[in-house]
């Protein structure tokens, strides 16, 4: 006797479907355009930046210059060109945001999937551990870690940002896995002889793509803000590397006289974070509607 298997929808990648939904809306189209521009600025920083971001042409005569045609964003107390630093800052901030998010996605998905799939006592213990991590505000945890190791490399900073960013996502993943574990298509796969690994990889994870993409988009935005905050406190990106938070820190002793040093990098940061948030939210909407 033939077993009939239901095929409710034709094969279409969940990513392609959500992308199509995003393009439909004007705000998210605009956000996507702006974000692409910022990413391009970051990628092409060496070509776009008018000066070397670390060059200190004249620390006496050219420091603290207000914005002018030669230096549209002014110069900093070390006579460096702020526009060039903001451009290179885009490169670094996006890079850190992206890599740290990759780290936390990997951890979050793995942890959540294992907890959800294992169930029972293992799940209970794993979730209590997660609760404990979630109870500590991320910034405080990072401050405690980073203050202990002075002058960390950017790689280590990325690692710590990633290591502290996966708790929320793994909860979502666990919930989804728990919900899907007994779905008919999983039972069918098991009946066909698929082992655990195959079920997790081929059947459960593809169904988690949407929440993961949403978490990634919002996660990058969050990491950018966190990195800027840590750099502003002096424990983020090591000086003299240009990051948006570092530039603002360089001007933070004379906020009133060096207003351009807080205003311009901050504007870039808000623009980036806002576009990421808009995209993340419309991704979430698209995903909610597709259920």
């Amino acid at each position: 006797m033939a077993i009939s298997v239901a095929h409710p929808t034709p094969r279409q990648s969940p990513l392609g479907r959500t992308f199509a939904r995003i393009i439909e809306r004007r705000p998210s189209r605009l956000a996507l355009g702006i974000l692409t521009a910022i990413v391009l600025v970051g990628l092409l920083a060496p070509l776009i930046a008018p000066y070397d971001p670390a060059a200190q042409p004249d620390i006496v005569l050219m420091k603290d210059l207000a914005p002018s045609p030669a230096h549209p964003f002014g110069t900093d107390p070390y006579s460096r060109d702020v526009l060039s630093r903001v451009i290179y800052g885009a490169r670094l901030s996006l890079f850190i945001g992206l890599l740290a998010t990759v780290v936390s996605l990997t951890l979050g998905v793995a942890y959540g999937a294992v907890a959800g799939y294992a169930g029972g006592l293992v799940d209970a213990i794993m979730m209590r551990v997660l609760d404990a991590f979630l109870a500590i505000p991320r910034l405080l945890l990072l401050v405690a870690i980073l203050a202990a190791w002075p002058r960390l490399s950017i790689g280590a900073l990325i690692l710590f940002l990633g290591l502290t960013g996966w708790f929320g996502l793994s909860r979502i993943v666990r919930g989804q896995v728990l919900a899907l574990k007994h779905a008919e298509f999983v039972t069918a796969a098991r009946a066909l002889g698929a082992n655990r690994r195959r079920i997790l990889w081929r059947h459960l994870l593809p169904n988690l793509v949407s929440p993961i993409v949403v978490a990634a988009t919002l996660g990058v935005a969050h990491v950018i803000v966190l990195e800027a905050g840590l750099s502003y406190l002096g424990i983020g990106v090591p000086q003299p590397e240009a990051s948006w938070g570092n530039i603002i820190r360089d001007g933070s002793d004379q906020v009133a006289t060096l207003w351009w040093m807080s205003l311009f990098p901050g504007l870039m940061m808000v623009l980036t974070v806002m576009t990421l948030n808009v995209l993340g939210e419309s991704l979430r909407d698209a995903y909610d509607r597709s259920w």
Binding site: R128, D131, A135, P137, A144, W149, V273
Partner: protein, 323 residues
């Protein structure tokens, strides 16, 4: 309800021990001794360093050190602050009231403002007002705390000097003021930092509350109320808002980490003498015991906050109140 409370207390206690374990691990795996800032000095001989290690118990086995550390914490001993030259506990007990003041004003203010914005938006959903307010709350949500604080400082103390530059009181004149003058002086210093934190927190409340209200509106009882002839306003106030209170309460519990994080940056920018300011200065002067102390107290505050919110939730939801 009582059983639930007990369960949550036990859970919170386990988490506190866990936080202590993390901070203990951080202290021990960090380079140097916890007090290396004070004795990492070529003028201090190895013999003295060794004696200090024994005196502070760093020669004992790790489990014993951890047990000692936890029992110290339980007695409220957080170690010695090198930069202030007094116990960490003293430094933090002086700073804590200022932070709590800032956070509670921002908590109340942001929920009042956020819910108000959401109600205005939902009562005119789809209108230009709705879109503008949505955009504004997204903007504030995307703003790093310290950047908005810097902008507020620039705008209202330098360009338009209506507020004092920073601190909790006027550094010179406060001592010479009468009672009324002192209160006024404190208020003047408090207003700008509190307003900044309120705005930042209100953005997420408004967004969340708007979604919660929109979730409730398609419900049958709302349609019934509308069919009864109630005005949109009465429906919102009497039916929708009331049913959207539970999400508000759980949002209060979730908002503590963001409020505390915001307070750290805002205190730094406005030199507001709270825990965040102490923390930032401790980072700068490499006073690690104070950093860890502030982190532990901060985590406990967040946990206590979400515990209270959970209790409030259990009390406010009639379905949970019974058992």
């Amino acid at each position: 309800m009582l059983r639930y409370a007990v369960e949550r207390v036990v859970q919170a206690a386990v988490i506190v021990v866990f936080v202590a374990a993390i901070s203990f691990a951080l202290i021990h795996f960090a380079p140097g001794d916890p007090f290396s800032a004070a004795i990492d000095n070529p003028n201090v001989s190895d013999a003295i360093r060794e004696r200090l290690r024994v005196q502070y118990g760093f020669d004992r086995p790790l489990p014993e050190q951890f047990a000692r550390y936890v029992s110290q914490l339980a007695r409220g001993e957080l170690g010695w602050s090198f930069s202030h030259d007094r116990p960490v506990r003293d430094v933090l007990t002086h700073a804590l009231p200022n932070t709590l003041l800032l956070m509670s004003i921002a908590l109340i203010g942001s929920f009042a403002l956020g819910v108000l914005i959401a109600v205005v938006q939902v009562s005119r959903r789809g209108s230009a007002t709705d879109h503008v307010l949505s955009g504004a709350s997204l903007l504030f949500l995307s703003m790093p705390d310290f950047w908005l604080a810097i902008l507020a400082l620039l705008a209202f103390t330098y360009w338009l000097p209506i507020f004092p530059v920073g601190g909790a009181v006027d550094p010179v004149m406060h001592e010479y003021m009468g009672l009324g003058g002192r209160i006024l002086d404190r208020l003047r210093h408090l207003l700008l930092p509190a307003l900044t934190l309120t705005l930042l927190a209100a953005a997420s409340v408004a967004r969340y509350q708007r979604a919660a209200l929109l979730d409730v509106l398609p419900a049958d009882y709302i349609r019934t109320a509308r069919l009864k002839g109630l005005t949109e306003r009465a429906i919102l106030r009497r039916h929708a808002l009331r049913n959207a209170t539970l999400p508000i309460i759980s949002l209060i519990g979730l908002s503590f980490p963001a409020l505390l994080t915001g307070a750290v940056f805002i205190e730094r920018v406005f030199a507001w003498p709270g825990m965040g300011y102490a923390l930032v200065n401790a980072i700068a002067s490499r006073d690690y015991p104070l950093v860890v102390g502030a982190v532990i107290i901060g985590s406990i505050m967040v946990m206590a906050g979400s515990f209270l919110a959970d209790m409030l939730y259990a009390w406010a939801d009639p379905r949970l109140r019974g058992n």
